[in-house]
C-alpha cells in the first residue's frame, strides 16, 4: 500500500503534465487552425495551390502547438512545483545527470517527425507544380517599380493582371533591372524575377497558379528593389473566362483613337505612372502636369525647353538630361526596344495635353 502511494507520488505528476500537454496542444492547435480557416491568420484561399499549402500549414500549426506545449508545460510545472521553498540557497535538487535512453528517444522520434514532414512537404511541392495542358501563358515583367503583363495568346499587354477563373496560368517571369518577387498572398506562392539573359542562359523563371475564386487581389513585390519597393503593386482581377476573353481582345486591339488618347493607354500599360504623376505631385520622376512647353532646369545648371524632342529623348535616353532635383539611373533605358516609334510619339502627344 505504502509503495503504491510512493509510486503515485513519484510518477503521478507525469500523468498531470501529460494531461496538460494534451490540453494545451489541443487549445493552441485548434486556435491556430481555426484562425487559418476563417481568415484571421491567413488570407483568403483563392487558388488551388493555396488549398494544398494551407493543408500543409495546418499540419505545421499542430506541430507548433505540440512542441511548444510539450516544453512550456514541463517547464511551468517545474517552475511552480519544483521551486525552492524556504530552503537554503544551495539546497540540492534531485541528483540525476542524464539518461541515454531518453536522449536516444528524443533524437529518434523528432527525426522521424521531421523526415515525415519533409516527405509530405515534398509531395505538396510536386502537387502545386503540376502542369495543366491548357495553361494560359502570361509573361510577367517587373521593373522598378511597376509590373507589366503580356498575353502572347491574344497579344494583350496590361499593367493589371487579369486572369480567368479555374484555369491554370503559367507565369513566365523576368525583370528589366533588379530582382523583384511576384507574390499574391491569396494565391500563397512566390517567385523571384531575375534580370536579363546572356547568351544561351535563360533567366526566365516560371510559376503556375490556378485561381479558384473570382475577385480583386494585388501582386506585391516581395524583394527589396529600391526606394519605392513598398509601392510596387499591381491589381489582379480573377474573372469569368468569357469576361477575360473580351478584356484580352480589347487590350490587344490596335489603338484607333486620337494619338494622345492612345498615348494615355500606353502610359497605363507600360507602368509610367509608377513614377510620374498627372496632378503635380512629385514622385520619383518629374510630374507631367505643366511639363511640356515649360523651361526645364537641368542638374548641370543649364535649362532646356520641354519640346517634342526633349520629351522623346527623355523617354529613350533618360540619363541624357536630368531634371534638377532628380536622380540619374532611376528610369529604365530600354523603352526604345519596348515601344514602337509611333507609340513613343503618341505618349509625347499625351504628355503635351498635360502641358502648359
Amino acid at each position: 500500500m505504502r509503495s503504491l502511494v510512493n509510486l503515485i507520488k513519484r510518477y503521478g505528476e507525469y500523468v498531470f503534465v501529460a494531461i496538460f500537454v494534451v490540453l494545451s496542444t489541443y487549445a493552441l492547435g485548434a486556435f491556430l487552425t481555426a484562425g487559418a480557416a476563417n481568415g484571421t491568420i491567413l488570407p483568403l484561399q483563392a487558388s488551388r495551390e493555396a488549398v494544398e499549402i494551407d493543408e500543409l500549414f495546418n499540419v505545421q500549426f499542430w506541430l507548433i502547438a505540440f512542441f511548444f506545449s510539450l516544453i512550456v508545460v514541463f517547464m511551468l510545472w517545474s517552475v511552480i512545483f519544483h521551486r525552492r521553498r524556504g530552503e537554503d540557497d544551495d539546497a540540492p535538487g534531485e541528483d540525476f545527470e542524464g539518461n541515454s535512453t531518453l536522449e536516444i528517444v528524443w533524437t529518434i522520434i523528432p527525426l522521424g517527425i521531421v523526415l515525415a514532414l519533409a516527405v509530405y512537404g515534398g509531395s505538396v511541392l510536386s502537387n502545386i507544380e503540376r502542369r495543366a495542358t491548357d495553361a494560359l501563358e502570361v509573361n510577367v515583367i517587373g521593373q522598378r517599380w511597376a509590373w507589366r503583363f503580356e498575353y502572347p495568346e491574344s497579344g494583350a499587354v496590361s499593367s493589371d493582371l487579369v486572369l480567368p477563373v479555374d484555369r491554370q496560368v503559367l507565369l513566365r517571369m523576368r525583370s528589366d533591372d533588379v530582382i523583384h518577387s511576384f507574390w499574391v498572398p491569396e494565391f500563397r506562392v512566390k517567385q523571384d524575377l531575375l534580370p536579363a539573359t546572356f547568351g544561351d542562359e535563360d533567366n526566365t523563371r516560371e510559376l503556375r497558379i490556378t485561381p479558384t475564386i473570382k475577385g480583386d487581389y494585388k501582386v506585391r513585390c516581395a524583394e527589396l528593389c529600391g526606394e519605392l519597393h513598398y509601392a510596387m503593386l499591381a491589381d489582379v482581377m480573377v474573372v469569368e473566362p468569357e469576361e477575360f476573353e473580351t478584356w484580352a481582345a480589347a487590350q490587344a486591339a490596335e489603338c484607333d483613337l486620337e494619338a494622345a488618347d492612345c498615348g494615355a493607354r500606353w502610359v497605363e500599360q507600360y507602368g509610367c505612372t509608377a513614377c510620374h504623376s498627372f496632378d503635380g505631385t512629385q514622385v520619383v520622376g518629374p510630374t507631367w502636369l505643366g511639363l511640356a512647353g515649360s523651361q526645364v532646369l537641368l542638374d548641370d545648371g543649364s535649362s532646356v525647353l520641354a519640346d517634342e524632342i526633349y520629351l522623346e529623348t527623355s523617354i529613350i535616353n533618360p540619363n541624357d538630361q536630368i531634371h534638377e532635383g532628380f536622380q540619374p539611373n532611376v528610369m529604365p533605358v530600354n523603352f526604345e526596344e519596348q515601344l514602337t516609334e509611333e507609340q513613343i510619339a503618341e505618349i509625347v502627344a499625351f504628355i503635351q495635353t498635360l502641358g502648359e
Partner: protein, 659 residues
C-alpha cells in the same frame, strides 16, 4: 588631457587623417590622369575609408609590438601599467588582458546596440501608419541630405539596423568568449594576446565606416545587399557598408582562431574536453563557424565593391555574371552566422541553469555535442534562404531535408534543459529569469522554423513579417536575453558589486512580455500579407492596428533597456558589495575573488569533480584552486610535475607551451 592620450583618441585622429590622405591620393591620381576628380566621388571615398581604417589600427597601437619584433626589438610579456593613470585608461587603449578585451567588446556591443535599437524606433514609428509620413519630416532631410525621401531613409534605416545588430551580436560573442573561456579552462590569458587586441580594435574603425554609410547617400538594399540592386542602382552608401563588413570580418576570423587555440592548448593540465564547462563547447563550435565561413561574406561583399568601382561584372547577367551566385556566397556565411550568435547564448543557458536549479546539467555530453552538431549541419542549409530565388528547382528539396535536420540537435538542447529543471530546487534571481525567458522565446523561434524550411509553405512565408518575427525570436531568445542573463550573473566579477535585483526584475518583466507581443504580431501580420522591408503598406490588409501594437511593444523594449543601462551604471558605482561566490556556483570563476585579480589564478587549478554536480552536496567540488594543499596520500603523477612548469599560460605570452 589623459583622455586625449588614450589609444582610442589617437586611433580616431589617425583614422581621420588616413581617410583624408586616401581620399586625396585617389582624387589626385584622377586629376593627373585627366579624369574629373570628384565625379564620381565613390572610388576616392571608398579608398579613403579603407586607408583610414588601417590608419586607425596604427594610431591605436595594435601593431606596435609586432613592428618592434620585425626590427629585432624584443618586448616584455607583461604590459606596464602606469598607476598614475585613471582606471578607464586601460579600457580606452590597447591592452592584452583577456578580461579587459572582453569588457571592451562588451562596452562596444552595448553602444552599437543602442544605435541599432534607436534606428528601429525610427522606422517602427514610420510603420505605425500605413502611409509614408513620419520619415518625410524635414528634420531628417536636414540631417541626412535633402535628396532623401521618407522611403529611401526607411530603407537605409532597416538595412543599417540589420547590420548594426549583427555587429552588436558579433561583439557580444567576442565579449563572452574572451572574458569567460580562459577563466573557465584555468588559463591566465588567451593564446595570442596581441592578436586578441587586434581582433577587438579592428571593429572600431569598421563601425565608424558602417555609420558613415548613412551620410554617404545611404543604401536601400537591406543588409543582404543583393545585386543588381547593390551593384548598379543603390547609392554609394552601399560600398561603405560593405567595406565596413569586410573590415569587421577580420575580427571574427582572428578572434575565433584565438578561441580555438586557447581551448585546445591552454586548458589546465588534466582537464579533459568532456570536463570543460559547457559554455566552452559552445564557444568552440561558434569559433569553428566563424573561422571557416566568415571569408564568404567578405568575399561576396568585396566582389560587389569591385563591380561598382571597376566594372568587374561578377554578378551582371548581361555580361555573363550571375546575381544568384552572390546569394550562394552570401548565405554560405550568413546562415551559419545565426548559429554564431545563438550557440554562445544557448551555451550560457546550459551554464547558468544548473546553478539556479541546483541540479546537474541533464545529458552533458549530448548538450556539448549538439552544439557541434548544429555547427556542422549549419553548413549544409544555406540555400533555404533562396527557395524563391530562382536557383535550379530540384535543389530546393535536399536543402529542405538538411534544414529540417537542424531541429534534431536543437531539440536535444530543449529536452535537456527541461530535464535539468525537472525536480530541482529552482530559485528566481534576475539571471535565472532571463534564462527562463530565453528558453521560451527561443522555443517560439524554434517551432516557427519548420514552416520556413518546408519549401511549399516557404513560398508563402518568404520575405514576409513572419520571417521577421521568427528570426527576432531566435536572436532574442538565442542571444539577447542570455546576454542580459550573463551580465546580471557575472557583474560582480568585473565590478565587485551586484546589480540591483528590483530594477533587474522590472527590466525582465517589461522586456520579455513586450518582446513576445512584438514578435507574435510580427508573425501574424506576415501571414496576412505584410512584406518585409516596406516603408508603407496597404491599409486594406487590415493590419494597421497590429502595427501600432508592434510599435508600442518596440518602445517598451527600448524603455526596458534604458532601465537596464541606468541600473548597470548606478550598481557599478553604488551597488551592494558582492563578496565571494554569491550564486553558490561550482565554476572555477566563482572561486576567485570579486573583482578577478589581474592574472586570474595564482597557480593552475586541478579538476577534481564534475562541473555541474549540484545534486550531491557531499560530493567533490569541480576544481581545487590550491592543489598543493592536497592530502599527501595522493600519488604524484608525471602530469602533476608538468602542471608546475606549464601553467596553462600564466603570462600573456605570444605562444602557448605545453604538451
Amino acid at each position: 588631457m589623459t583622455f586625449l592620450s588614450t589609444g582610442f583618441v589617437r586611433g580616431l585622429i589617425a583614422q581621420a587623417l588616413g581617410t583624408l590622405a586616401g581620399f586625396a591620393f585617389v582624387t589626385g591620381i584622377r586629376a593627373l590622369s585627366g579624369l574629373e576628380p570628384f565625379d564620381p566621388v565613390e572610388p576616392a571615398l571608398v579608398s579613403g575609408f579603407a586607408v583610414g581604417a588601417l590608419a586607425f589600427l596604427f594610431g591605436v597601437g595594435v601593431f606596435d609590438d609586432w613592428l618592434k619584433w620585425t626590427r629585432g626589438i624584443s618586448t616584455s610579456d607583461h604590459q606596464e601599467h602606469d598607476p598614475e593613470k585613471p582606471w578607464w585608461y586601460r579600457y580606452l587603449s590597447v591592452d592584452f588582458d583577456h578580461k579587459v578585451i572582453g569588457l571592451q567588446y562588451g562596452a562596444a556591443a552595448m553602444l552599437t546596440m543602442g544605435i541599432g535599437g534607436s534606428l528601429a524606433l525610427l522606422f517602427r514609428t514610420e510603420l505605425a501608419t500605413a502611409n509614408v509620413d513620419f520619415l518625410e519630416h524635414f528634420i531628417f532631410g536636414q540631417i541626412f541630405g535633402e535628396d532623401h525621401t521618407g522611403a529611401s531613409l526607411f530603407n537605409t534605416f532597416i538595412s543599417l539596423h540589420g547590420m548594426i545588430m549583427i555587429v552588436t551580436m558579433l561583439l557580444g560573442v567576442g565579449a563572452l568568449s574572451n572574458y569567460l573561456v580562459p577563466l573557465m579552462i584555468g588559463a591566465n590569458d588567451m593564446a595570442f594576446p596581441r592578436l586578441n587586441a587586434f581582433a577587438f580594435w579592428v571593429n572600431i574603425p569598421g563601425a565608424i565606416v558602417l555609420l558613415a554609410s548613412m551620410f554617404a547617400g545611404g543604401f536601400d538594399t537591406g543588409w543582404t545587399g543583393y545585386p543588381p540592386n547593390s551593384t548598379g542602382y543603390s547609392a554609394m552608401g552601399v560600398s561603405l557598408f560593405m567595406l565596413a563588413v569586410y573590415i569587421v570580418g577580420f575580427s571574427s576570423i582572428f578572434g575565433s582562431l584565438n578561441v580555438i587555440v586557447t581551448i585546445f592548448r591552454m586548458r589546465v593540465p588534466g582537464m579533459k574536453l568532456f570536463e570543460m564547462p559547457i559554455f566552452v563547447w559552445a564557444a568552440m563550435a561558434t569559433a569553428f563557424i566563424q573561422l571557416i565561413a566568415t571569408q564568404f561574406i567578405g568575399l561576396s561583399f568585396l566582389m560587389v565593391i569591385l563591380q561598382r568601382l571597376f566594372g568587374m561584372n561578377f554578378f551582371d547577367s548581361t555580361a555573363g555574371g550571375s546575381p544568384v551566385l552572390f546569394q550562394h556566397l552570401f548565405w554560405f556565411y550568413s546562415h551559419p552566422a545565426v548559429y554564431v550568435f545563438i550557440l554562445p547564448g544557448l551555451g550560457l543557458i546550459s551554464e547558468l541553469l544548473p546553478v539556479f536549479v541546483r541540479k546537474p546539467l541533464f545529458g552533458y555530453k549530448w548538450v556539448a555535442l549538439s552544439s557541434l552538431g548544429i555547427a556542422l549541419v549549419g553548413y549544409f542549409v544555406w540555400a533555404h534562404h533562396m527557395f524563391t530565388a530562382g536557383m535550379a528547382s530540384y535543389l530546393r528539396v535536399p536543402f529542405m531535408y538538411s534544414t529540417l535536420l537542424v531541429a534534431i540537435p536543437t531539440g536535444v538542447k530543449f529536452f535537456s534543459w527541461v530535464g535539468t529543471m525537472w525536480r530541482g530546487k529552482m530559485r528566481f534571481d534576475t539571471p535565472m529569469l532571463f534564462v527562463l525567458g530565453s528558453v521560451v522565446v527561443f522555443l517560439l523561434g524554434g517551432v516557427t522554423g519548420p514552416p520556413n524550411a518546408t519549401v511549399a509553405s516557404n513560398l508563402h512565408l518568404h520575405d514576409t513579417y513572419w520571417v521577421v518575427g521568427h528570426f527576432h525570436n531566435t536572436m532574442f531568445g538565442g542571444f539577447m536575453f542570455p546576454w542580459f542573463a550573463a551580465i546580471y550573473y557575472y557583474f560582480p566579477k568585473f565590478t565587485g558589486r551586484q546589480m540591483n535585483e528590483f530594477w533587474g526584475k522590472l527590466h525582465f518583466w517589461l522586456m520579455v512580455p513586450a518582446f513576445l507581443v512584438m514578435s507574435t504580431y510580427q508573425m501574424l501580420t506576415g501571414l496576412l500579407g505584410m512584406r518585409r522591408r516596406i516603408a508603407g503598406y496597404d491599409a486594406a490588409l487590415g493590419i494597421e492596428g497590429y502595427q501600432v501594437i508592434v510599435t508600442w511593444a518596440g518602445f517598451l523594449i527600448f524603455f526596458a533597456v534604458i532601465i537596464f543601462a541606468i541600473n548597470f551604471v548606478v550598481s557599478a558605482r553604488r551597488g551592494e558589495v558582492a563578496e565571494g561566490n554569491i550564486w553558490k556556483s561550482r565554476s572555477p570563476i566563482w572561486q576567485l575573488p570579486n573583482p578577478i585579480p589581474l592574472h586570474n589564478y595564482e597557480r593552475p587549478f586541478r579538476v577534481v569533480g564534475e562541473p555541474y554536480d549540484y545534486g550531491d552536496p557531499n560530493g567533490h567540488p569541480y576544481v581545487d584552486l590550491d592543489p598543493s594543499d592536497d592530502a599527501p596520500d595522493e600519488p604524484t603523477t608525471p602530469s602533476d610535475s608538468e602542471e608546475q612548469q606549464a601553467p596553462g599560460g600564466a603570462d600573456p605570452a605570444p605562444a602557448p607551451t605545453g604538451d
